[in-house]
Amino acid sequence: MDVKFTREDLMFRDEVRAFFEEEYDFDLAKQVLNDKSDDYKSAIVAWQKKLHKKGWIAPAWPTEYGGSGWTVTQRYIFESERGRLGIPDAIPFGLKMVGPVIYTFGNQQQKERFLPRILSSDDWWCQGYSEPGAGSDLASLQTSAELVGEDYIVNGQKVWTTFAQFADWIFCLVRTSKEIRKQQGISFLLIDMNSPGVTVKPIITIDGKHSLNEVLFDDVKVPIENLIGEQDKGWTYAKALLIHERAGIAEVADSRSSLNSLKAQAAAETSGGAAIIEDPVFQMRLSDIETELMALEYTELRALASMADGGMPGPESSFLKIKGTEIRQAISELALQLVGYYGGALDSNLDPGVLGHDFASQARVNYMYGRAASIYGGSNEVQRNVIAKMVLGV
């Protein structure tokens, strides 16, 4: 066991810290990060471009495709510092989802065409997996793609598509043949969102915001060169991605950052004249979460270390997803508890100045939208089924 940081590690920590503090626009972030508007998009893209310039945008990618070539410890340090300073993660759809599929299963032409624009954040991607009848049971999907000449003709409906309203491209699972086993006959297709016949319809969620969408495909022509790998093998690619991408899914750094905000608010808010953070019961609520988060941080590190050592991917991604979202939800619940009456105040249209601050409405939005965390990306129930199968062997 090697339990200490090296001198190089500590120097890297200083470098990351300095880069974040100099390059990240904390003021801008404060203004736009919560509004999910076009300003939000451009702020995100601007920051991602800075990371790209520094060579830090894709830590997990193989270096040949633009990865940063870090050790496990360096990745851990980068994430710790990101969480400490409250800097949001890069949008995952290009960098963590379709990118790895393309460099693993795509052909040379696809790699050259798509990977650079993912790294540079010039293309915004979204994910076309879920459908109204295919949620937890993703393999039931019905969106069809029929090969006619050199094009697939795509028809169907995707749902819960995050940030489709910003997206240039969508990667989709589509049904290309009707086999008996429903996992077969699914293909992995990249679709230009500007193609004729693609319609995006907003879904307003219970936080009152617009992050999700329906994406409708009406005779959308997709050139055959946008097919990843072989036709009918898409399920395999999607699943490999799911098991392989272990880092990030736990959102440890983001939870750390939320917890820090929560602590700061609890130090500022009072009850009966005393700061709430001094309340022994509130402290227990905080540390119930913080201790689990500290454990999860190392669970992630262990998963990375095992992968770096050539360990076989196991049920880690399901584990990290379950625990990560449970912790995020617990933080959002406690944050809502902290703001008390103010959490329910101001549904949407009014100046938060009425309350004298904006963190209360933000707490409500985070709590409400956060309910989705245990539903999306394979519900936590499904993730437990996966672990039961892979670990318990039942």
């Binding site: 009848g133 949620g135 999700l212 009966g272």
Partner: protein, 383 residues
């Protein structure tokens, strides 16, 4: 002991239930929420016609002389419809401050108007720094001749923007958090110097921020006794939390019904998701949570009502425990309803999220689970 509804209670229950079925389903509620005032004057008039506004008031003012159990029966049904009309602010908060105030002049002036639906009320008790401590009051009331000059700010005043009259707690003596030195005043909402910013809450209820600048309120508008307002407020809080707990019970009951029904119809992996044992057991736990909540409501009602059998300590313990159990149940039941509804539960178009939001508001009202549990502990655990 007997928990069967009386004939009168059954009629009240059915009357609210029919109203919701016929005039206040989820789509109609959406329309009501779009109205500029955030509630429906028509509906309110119907409430008056049907006698709901008169329940807890004395016979001599035209009331029904009903008990808090009767109010609870109505509130539970209103919870099933997540009605946004200001019943609690007007009838329970403002109305009961008035009823218990012994200010006969004000009572005979306003109670009949509450009952006939022509007067809406509100209770301005919350200040920015106060959280759940109702005695933490900075707003001052300075006696000048036969008027109080009131200065300060009240936040999240339920129904504050629509109210015709407002009861407000002001500090007439003592220090910021003292029990003594609090006075409850009644003030017309159009009195000069009141600046009101009205807004809609996440649960559809209206609230307001209210700034008081040199507002003059006649001494004759004192509710209760000067400097002893805390006692009056603390007499009304049990009624508010009993009524709102009953409402929470209605909300939770509907959520469980909707969730079980959804689970039976939603298919994944070729089978209704209700066939998954994990979901079954969680739905069972939610069922038990609601039954335990109902038990606590009944315990709260019984203990509150029976001053002969229970001392004050035990009566308060039951109320605090009720808030604790119901708040915990509400959290589980509400969140699980969203979870089991999956993506659908996340959409603003479906009713599930709106029930959850109302639950959160109710459990916050006059103190969340931790607040009441700590009060319970103070009354229960000593060396």
């Amino acid at each position: 002991m007997n928990f069967k509804l009386s004939e009168e209670q059954s009629m009240l229950k059915e009357s609210v239930s029919r109203f919701i079925r016929e005039r206040y389903d989820f789509d109609m509620r959406k329309e009501v929420m779009k109205l500029s005032e955030g509630y429906s004057r028509d509906c309110w008039a119907t409430f008056a016609e049907l006698g709901w506004l008169s329940i807890p008031f004395a016979d001599e003012y035209g009331g029904l002389d009903g008990t808090i159990e009767d109010v609870a029966v109505v509130m539970e049904e209103m919870g099933r419809g997540i009605i946004v009309e200001p019943y609690i602010p007007t009838v329970v908060m403002f109305g009961q401050l008035l009823s218990l105030s012994r200010n006969e002049l004000l009572k005979s002036e306003y109670i009949p108007k509450i009952i006939d639906g022509s007067c809406l009320g509100a209770f301005a008790f919350l200040e920015r720094q106060a959280r759940y401590e109702v005695t933490d009051i900075k707003t001052t009331g300075t006696l000048q001749g036969d008027h109080y000059r009131v200065n300060g700010e009240k936040a999240v005043v339920f129904n504050g923007g629509n109210a015709d009259v407002i009861a407000i707690t002001v500090r007439t003596g003592g220090q910021q958090c003292d029990r003594h030195g609090v006075t409850v005043l009644l003030v017309q909402s159009d009195t000069p110097g009141i600046e009101t910013t009205s807004y809609q809450m996440m649960d559809g209820q209206m609230a307001a921020n209210m700034v008081f600048k040199d507002v003059l309120i006649p001494h004759s508008n004192v509710l209760g006794t000067v400097d002893a307002g805390t006692e009056l407020v603390e007499a009304v809080i049990p009624l508010v939390i009993l009524a709102s707990s009953a409402e929470a019970l209605g909300v939770m009951t509907v959520l469980n019904e909707l969730t079980v029904n959804y689970a039976k119809t939603r298919s994944q992996f070729g089978t209704p998701i209700s066939s998954f044992q994990v979901l079954q057991h969680r739905m069972v736990d939610n069922f038990m949570a609601v039954e335990q909540s109902r038990s606590m409501l009944y315990r709260g009602l019984c203990t509150y009502a029976d001053e002969e059998a229970y001392d004050q300590n035990e009566r308060l313990r039951s109320l605090h425990a009720m808030k604790v159990v119901i708040a915990k149940s509400a959290k589980t039941v509400g969140e699980e309803a969203v979870q089991i509804h999956g993506g659908m539960g996340m959409t603003d178009d479906l009713n599930i999220g709106h029930y959850l939001k109302r639950l959160i508001s109710i459990t916050t009202l006059f103190g969340d689970a931790d607040f009441h549990q700590k009060r319970f502990n103070e009354l229960s655990y000593k060396t």
